[in-house]
Symmetry: C2
Subunit: 286 residues, 2 copies
C-alpha cells in the first residue's frame, strides 16, 4: 500500500462509499441565487462539500472550470482546498502531460501549490513525462486510459502492436501502467460509458484504483460499469459524478437535492457491491 | 488563410524570423538579482520580451511554470499577456485535453481569459475533445504529434492500424489533423530531436504550421530539423527555444545575452532557409 491507496481505502471505509464528487463550477449551470453573490465559486464549492462530505470518499475539482473563471476561479479553488475534509481524497482533475522539466512544474503546481492527494495525467507524451508525478510517492497519479467521451476511440481504440502483441492502444497504457507501479501510487481513468473496456482494464490491472467518470450526465451504464470495475475486494473504483450531483437543482434547495442525488448514487453502487459479493458466494459454494 | 495563419505569416515577415521564444519562469534558473525583486515573474518575462521582440515571430508562455508559482505566477502571466506586442503571435503552451464540456472551459480559459492567439493541445482523448478549441476559428490549435522528449515513443511510435494502413501513432495524429483542418486553424508539434519524423509529418501536412521545440537545452539538431520542417515557401515552422535563450546568462547582462542567443538562433535558421532555397534553385535549373 502507498499513502495514496491507504488514504483511498480509509476514506472509502469511513464514508462506506465509492463515490467521487466532481466539482465543476459553471456560472451558467449553478443556482442563480448563489452565482449572484460575491465569492460565489467558494460558496458553491463549499456548499457541495458540506452537503455530500459524509457520502463521498473523494472530491475531484476540475481545474478547467476554475481556470475559465480567472481570478475568481483561483480564489474559489484556494478556499475549496482549505475546506476539503482531510480524511477524504482530493483529486486534481487536470489531465496534464508535458516533457520532463515542464511536467515537474505541473506536478509541483498540483501537489505542492494546490495540495492535491492525487492528480489526473495524460500518457500521450510517454512515461518519462509522468515520472515527475510518480516521484511524489505519497501522492496518486491517475493516468487516462479509456476516456468516457464518444470520440475516445479516435486514438485509444486503434489496434496497436506492443511488445510483439496486437491490442488497442488503451490496453497498452494499462499494461505499461502496471509495469510502472512499483510505488503503488498509480491509478487509471476508464469511462463508465465503456463497461466492456473497463472489464478488460480491470483484468489487466487487478488491484489498481480506477477512476470511473461518466455515470451521470454522460449516461454511462452504472450497473454494468460497477460490475466491470470492482476489484476482488469489492472496491478499487471511484465512481465519479459531477453535473448530475452538483447541478441536481438550481433552486434554493440545491444543497439538499445534491445530497439526495449523492446518497442515491452511493447507495446504488453499494447495493451492486453487495449483489456482486452475494453472487461470488454463490459461485464459491455452488 | 485563417486569422491564425495570417498573423503567423505577418509576424514572421515583420521579424524576418521563424523563432519562437518560450517563456518558462523558474526561480532556480532566472537571474538571482531579478528573482530577489517583487513581481520578479513579470520583470523577468517582460525583460525577455523587451530584449527579443524584434527577433521573434512568436512568444510561448508555458503555463506550467506560472502555475507552479501560484498567485505570483498568475499575476506575472497577466502582466506578460498585457505587455506582449500585438503583432507577434502568442502561444499558450498548456497541452490541454479533456472531454467536451471541460475542453470548452479550457479553451475559454486560454483564448478568452488569458487571450492567447493559439494554444497547444493533447490529442489522446480524440477529436471531439479538440472541437471546442477548433471552434475558435480566429485562434490556432496546435496538436501534439511527435514530442521532443526521449520517452515520446512509448505511445507515439507504436505501430498502429488506421483506415486499414499500418503506421506509427504520431502519423495517425498528423493525418487526422489534416482531415480536420477545414478552418485552417490547426498546427502540429514535432520535436527538433526527431528530424526524420518531422520530415514525415511535413510530407503528410505540407502547409500546416509546425511548432518545433527542443533545439536548445534538449539538443535537437537545428540544421536537420529546419531542413526537415520547412514548407515549400521556406517557412511554416516555429523554431522554439526556451531555456537556451531566456537563461543564457544569470548575471546582470541577462537581457543582452538572451538577445544575443535569440539573434544567433534566428540568423542560423534564416541562413538555412537561404541555403535550402539556393539548393531548390539548383535543383530546378540543374
Amino acid at each position: 500500500m502507498s499513502v495514496f491507496t491507504t488514504k483511498l481505502a480509509a476514506s472509502s471505509e469511513a464514508s462506506r462509499s465509492l463515490l467521487c464528487v466532481g466539482i465543476d463550477p459553471d456560472p451558467r449551470l449553478a443556482p442563480p441565487s448563489v452565482v449572484a453573490q460575491p465569492d460565489w465559486v467558494a460558496r458553491f464549492a463549499l456548499g457541495i462539500v458540506e452537503a455530500t462530505a459524509d457520502l463521498a470518499c473523494a472530491f475531484k475539482p476540475n481545474l478547467a472550470f476554475f481556470e475559465a473563471l480567472g481570478d475568481d476561479g483561483y480564489r474559489g479553488l484556494r478556499a475549496l482546498m482549505a475546506a476539503l475534509p482531510k480524511d477524504r481524497l482530493s483529486i486534481g482533475d487536470a489531465k496534464r502531460g508535458d516533457v520532463g522539466s515542464t511536467a515537474a512544474a505541473y506536478a509541483r503546481a498540483l501537489f505542492e501549490v494546490w495540495g492535491f492527494d492525487a492528480a489526473t495525467v495524460n500518457p500521450y507524451l510517454g512515461w518519462d513525462s509522468l515520472e515527475p508525478f510518480l516521484g511524489y510517492q505519497d501522492r496518486g497519479t491517475i493516468v487516462l486510459c479509456k476516456t468516457s467521451n464518444p470520440g475516445s476511440g479516435d486514438l485509444q481504440d486503434l489496434r496497436t502492436t506492443w511488445e510483439g502483441r496486437d491490442m488497442p492502444l488503451y490496453q497498452v497504457v494499462a499494461r505499461q501502467a502496471v509495469g510502472r507501479n512499483g510505488a503503488r501510487n498509480l491509478g487509471l481513468v476508464v469511462g463508465a460509458t465503456y463497461p466492456e473496456q473497463l472489464a478488460h482494464v480491470r483484468e489487466l490491472a487487478p488491484d489498481m484504483p480506477i477512476l470511473v467518470p461518466g455515470v451521470g450526465t454522460q449516461q454511462g451504464d452504472l450497473e454494468a460499469a460497477v460490475a466491470a470495475g470492482l476489484d476482488v475486494q469489492g472496491g478499487g473504483i471511484l465512481v465519479n459524478a459531477s453535473r448530475s450531483v452538483i447541478y441536481a437543482s438550481t433552486g434554493d434547495d440545491w444543497q439538499a437535492v445534491a445530497r439526495a442525488a449523492a446518497l442515491d448514487l452511493r447507495d446504488r453502487v453499494n447495493a451492486m457491491r453487495q449483489a456482486e459479493r452475494a453472487e461470488e458466494r454463490v459461485g464459491a459454494t455452488g
